[in-house]
């Protein structure tokens, strides 16, 4: 007997099991469409769960605990020098955090009847995916497909060095050791978050950023408090500096830093952004088209590509590359497939940098308002005036609101300070629902909490 090719016929094939992919598949199932997920690793969670948001936040929580313990000396509490055991730490992150969430997703998929097929999916045409897994080939014929292949860490152009000591974010999150000297290339959120983790665990961190400031594109008012803190936490911070050479020398990496000479490091973390995972998917066999810049899959606000049978969601469709954007798009795609009048028309996509202090923002920024000529009123509330911030010993925060000058409608919010990532939720709801500054100012906020800073800054806009 000869094994024939196995062919599955489904309503919706989702390519990629990350937050965009599983949100699409789950929502399809809820709406009565048969959906399968084809994932290279044969599991749900994607980069977010296995090599991104979740493990990094677990490690940043550890960093926060260490930071708090250190700060406790100011209040007369001394825990002594922390002793860090990497094995239990890795095990906690991998099993208690990542593993637990992965098992949860798998059981939700089972409950909803969503099959996860392991293997690399390649489009043969606009209705067939070939799934290769080791030696086996399986075909999935679909009425519609959703591309949710996400993104991967970008390399340093012209500076590839095959060495274990040169890590991308995935390798750094595996926490191979705590290097004495760590070079972080890239002052974006990934470099800052992982730099913070390693610095708190004991590494001497040198951070190099090509542009004039950390977190390019983010409001300077928000970046400033973080920069002050990072300057203390890190051994060195080089702005407007390029790395022009990387060599492996005597069990270390020698890096040429433009203007700062050659320096040796035990490890190097390359965190210069992420690239769309749009190559090698067989898209040339479909009518899907990519953008000229960035190689993103071109979609409209219904997540439709140029191929009427194929949708796309998440990082592979463009910036901002954020799990929650992917997840919302995944639901939109599923709803459109089920014939519902859905659209990815969100006004506010919150972004959070989980550093210490955290930075979070949503909607319009001051620079964007200026660039597009929108007349706005701006309120800035310094946390030095917040009771809650004082009790936390953290008065270095800022809450900033932008409202339409004519109507008072909230258009954008930026927050820096501990807990900013949680605080931005209220701001996002306000911007998304077209709330007025007056709505926020007259809503009672619990005292004493940091959320009061939103109310107080909204009040400033009414004066």
């Amino acid at each position: 007997m000869v094994m024939g090719e196995l062919v599955d016929e489904v309503d919706v094939a989702v390519l990629g099991g990350g937050p965009g992919g599983y949100a699409a598949a789950f929502r399809c199932a809820e709406l009565g469409l048969e959906a399968v997920v084809v994932d290279a690793d044969g599991r749900l969670g994607g980069a977010c769960l296995f090599e991104g948001c979740i493990p990094s936040k677990a490690l940043l929580h550890v960093a926060a605990v260490l930071g708090e313990a250190e700060r406790a000396k100011e209040f007369g509490v001394d825990f002594g020098e922390p002793r860090i055991s990497l094995d239990p730490l890795r095990k906690w992150k991998q099993e208690r955090v990542v593993g637990k969430l992965a098992r949860g997703l798998a059981s939700v998929a089972k409950g909803k009847g969503v099959e996860v097929i392991g293997g690399r999916g390649v489009f043969e045409d606009s209705s067939t995916l070939r799934v290769e897994h080791e030696d086996a080939v399986r075909k999935v014929r679909f009425k519609h497909a959703v591309i949710a292949t996400g993104s991967r860490p970008a390399g340093l152009p012209g500076l590839t060095l095959a060495s274990d000591r040169v890590m991308d974010s995935t390798a750094a999150l595996a926490l191979p050791d705590v290097p004495e000297r760590l070079l972080v290339i890239g002052g974006g959120y990934i470099g800052l978050e992982l730099g913070t983790v390693y610095a708190t665990l004991g590494s001497h961190v040198t951070l190099v950023e090509m542009t004039a400031g950390l977190l390019p594109g983010v409001d300077r008012d928000l970046v400033q408090p973080l920069q002050r803190r990072v300057e203390k936490l890190f051994a060195a911070l080089h702005l407007q500096t390029r790395v022009t050479g990387l060599r492996e020398v005597e069990a270390s990496i020698e890096a040429d830093l433009e203007g700062a000479g050659s320096q040796r490091f035990d490890r190097v973390l390359v965190a210069v952004g992420r690239r769309a995972e749009s190559a090698g998917l067989g898209l040339e066999h479909t009518r899907v088209r990519l953008t000229e810049r960035g190689g993103f899959v071109r979609v409209d606000d219904r997540c439709r590509t140029d191929d009427p049978h194929i949708f796309a969601v998440g990082d592979v469709t463009g910036e901002p590359m954020l799990a929650h954007r992917a997840s919302r798009q995944g639901r939109v795609a599923a709803e459109i497939l089920a014939g519902r009048p859905s659209a990815f028309d969100n006004v506010a996509i919150p972004a959070v940098v989980f550093t210490d202090p955290e930075i979070a923002w949503c909607g319009l920024s001051e620079a964007q308002a200026k660039a597009q000529g929108t007349a706005v009123k701006i309120a800035k509330f310094q946390w030095a005036a917040s009771g809650r911030a004082a009790t936390l010993g953290r008065s270095d925060g800022l809450t900033k609101l932008l409202a339409d000058e004519a109507t008072g409608r909230l258009l954008g919010v930026g927050i820096v300070g501990p807990g900013a990532g949680e605080l931005i939720a209220e701001a996002t709801l306000a911007v998304e629902t077209a709330a007025l500054a007056e709505d926020v100012a007259t809503t009672i906020h619990a005292h004493p909490t940091l959320s009061e800073t939103l109310m107080e800054s909204a009040e400033q806009l009414l004066r």
Partner: protein, 444 residues
């Protein structure tokens, strides 16, 4: 209209041009048109190239030193026929669809927006909650055109529903003084309710390559539009076709007799002019054929104006230029307008205004032969008149066989808005007008 294809760029960077000089040629889903310059000045940068598809609101050309001494952009406007001095860029409502264009977009017929645009809140995100935005999509309401009654101009659910109802009743609410209706549809009992929708998805195509080599040729903008409109019409509308013939022997004689006299006034008399007139007069008495159906509202939109489209085959495909207020125009003026329009079509100079606002279409395939054709309705209209070649035929008149010039007519209409008997009465009305041509000429 959300996008257009650039056919030709008629200027170069560095050119100094005057206001209204032709800048670009674009092909929209309706026509190939020239975009005139909104201002005088030197062209600093051209942002588009032939073959490129641009969205409404995209920057086409940047001027370096306009009259005001400031740099300025020419943007793609929703109505390229508008020649306002300052190009108020029409904002697209988010990215226009790039794929799956055939997917039915509910209640969004081409042509002017159904609701009067509100100048407020033209910038920035629409001030409405996600739930209200979803409601607007359900009802096919363009939120940017809705004025919000909530605090700070926020658009409420009630505003969306009001805009929906306004769009549905606009045409019908104005009372008319025109011809008395002989077959007015019966008044609805109770409030209007939306009709159930249908959704059809074409099954995947087989791999033709397995049987032999194939070639894939991308559709032109116009071809795609025709394909989408026809598929939409044929899928959505239950078509009925009624056949009839008109004896136009007398009409033909009148045309022949008056050809020279009309030519002296600079007008060419054609059968098409008389067809337009007869149809317009008949539509006045049968308004349900001069209408659109609003399934979402469960209402018929009777149009108290009569703009007739005339289907014209061009090298690039079918287009339907429109003659306005046909019923009210004397025959000679109609003939003059028709000739001017035909000239614009031949020159490829039709404007968007030439191509929209039609209420009923006439398609004359006579020139190309055939005995009859069953046309497909030009959505969102509800009826179309097909005309084949007139032929001398033996006809029995008062017991005698006489040679008469007979014109085959096919009336295709939407069975949702009219029944076979209505169609027969309407067609008979057209036939009797063509057979008694003095009634068409009474005004000239």
């Amino acid at each position: 209209m959300t996008e257009a294809e650039i056919v030709a760029v008629l200027v170069h960077e560095g050119d100094v041009i005057r206001e209204d000089a032709p800048l670009l040629e674009v092909e929209t889903d309706k026509a190939q048109v020239e975009i005139p310059s909104p201002m005088a000045g030197r062209i600093e940068k051209i942002h588009v190239a032939p073959g490129q598809t641009v969205k409404v609101g995209a920057v086409l050309v940047t001027f370096a030193d306009s009259g005001a001494g400031l740099g300025a952009d020419a943007r793609a406007e929703a109505s390229t026929a508008t020649r306002a001095g300052a190009p108020a860029a029409a904002r697209p409502t988010g990215p226009a669809p790039v794929g799956a264009r055939a997917a039915a977009r509910p209640a969004a017929p081409a042509g002017p927006a159904p609701v009067a645009p509100a100048p407020a809140a033209a910038q920035g995100p629409v001030a409405a909650t996600p739930a209200t935005r979803r409601l607007a999509r359900e009802l096919g309401v363009e939120l940017r055109a809705v004025r919000g009654s909530g605090p700070g101009g926020r658009i409420l659910d009630a505003d969306v529903r009001a805009a929906r109802a306004g769009a549905a009743t606009r045409g019908a609410s104005r009372p008319t003084t025109a011809a008395a209706s002989t077959s007015q549809p019966t008044a609805p009992a109770g409030p209007a309710k939306p009709l159930a929708t249908i959704g059809l998805e074409p099954p995947p195509l087989p791999r033709f390559e397995q049987w032999g080599p194939v070639e894939r040729v991308p559709l032109s903008h116009l071809r795609r539009t025709i394909a989408e409109r026809m598929a939409l019409s044929a899928t959505l509308i239950p078509h009925v076709t009624h056949f009839d013939r008109a004896d136009i022997t007398d009409l033909d004689a009148i045309i022949t007799r008056n050809l020279e006299a009309a030519r002296a006034k600079g007008v060419t008399l054609t059968l098409t002019g008389f067809l337009l007139k007869a149809t317009a007069l008949a539509l006045g008495r049968h308004p349900q054929f001069n209408a659109s159906l609003d399934p979402a509202a469960g209402e018929m939109i009777l149009k108290r104006y009569c703009h007739l489209g005339v289907a014209v085959a061009t090298e690039r495909g079918l287009i339907v230029p429109v003659i306005r207020d046909v019923a009210a125009k004397p025959m000679l003026e109609l003939a003059r307008e028709l000739a001017a329009l035909a000239q614009r079509v031949r020159d490829g100079k039709t404007t968007l205004d030439d191509l929209r606002g039609g209420t009923f279409t006439i398609t004359n395939i006579g020139a190309l032969g055939g005995t009859a054709a069953i046309p497909i309705i030009n959505y969102p209209e509800v009826a179309i008149l097909g005309v084949a070649r007139a032929r001398l035929e033996p006809v029995v008149r008062q017991g005698q066989i006489a040679p008469r010039l007979m014109l085959p007519l096919t009336l295709t209409f939407d069975h949702r808005v009219a029944d076979g008997a209505d169609g027969a009465r309407f067609a008979t009305e057209i036939v009797s007008l063509l057979e008694a041509p003095e009634r068409l000429l009474s005004e000239w």
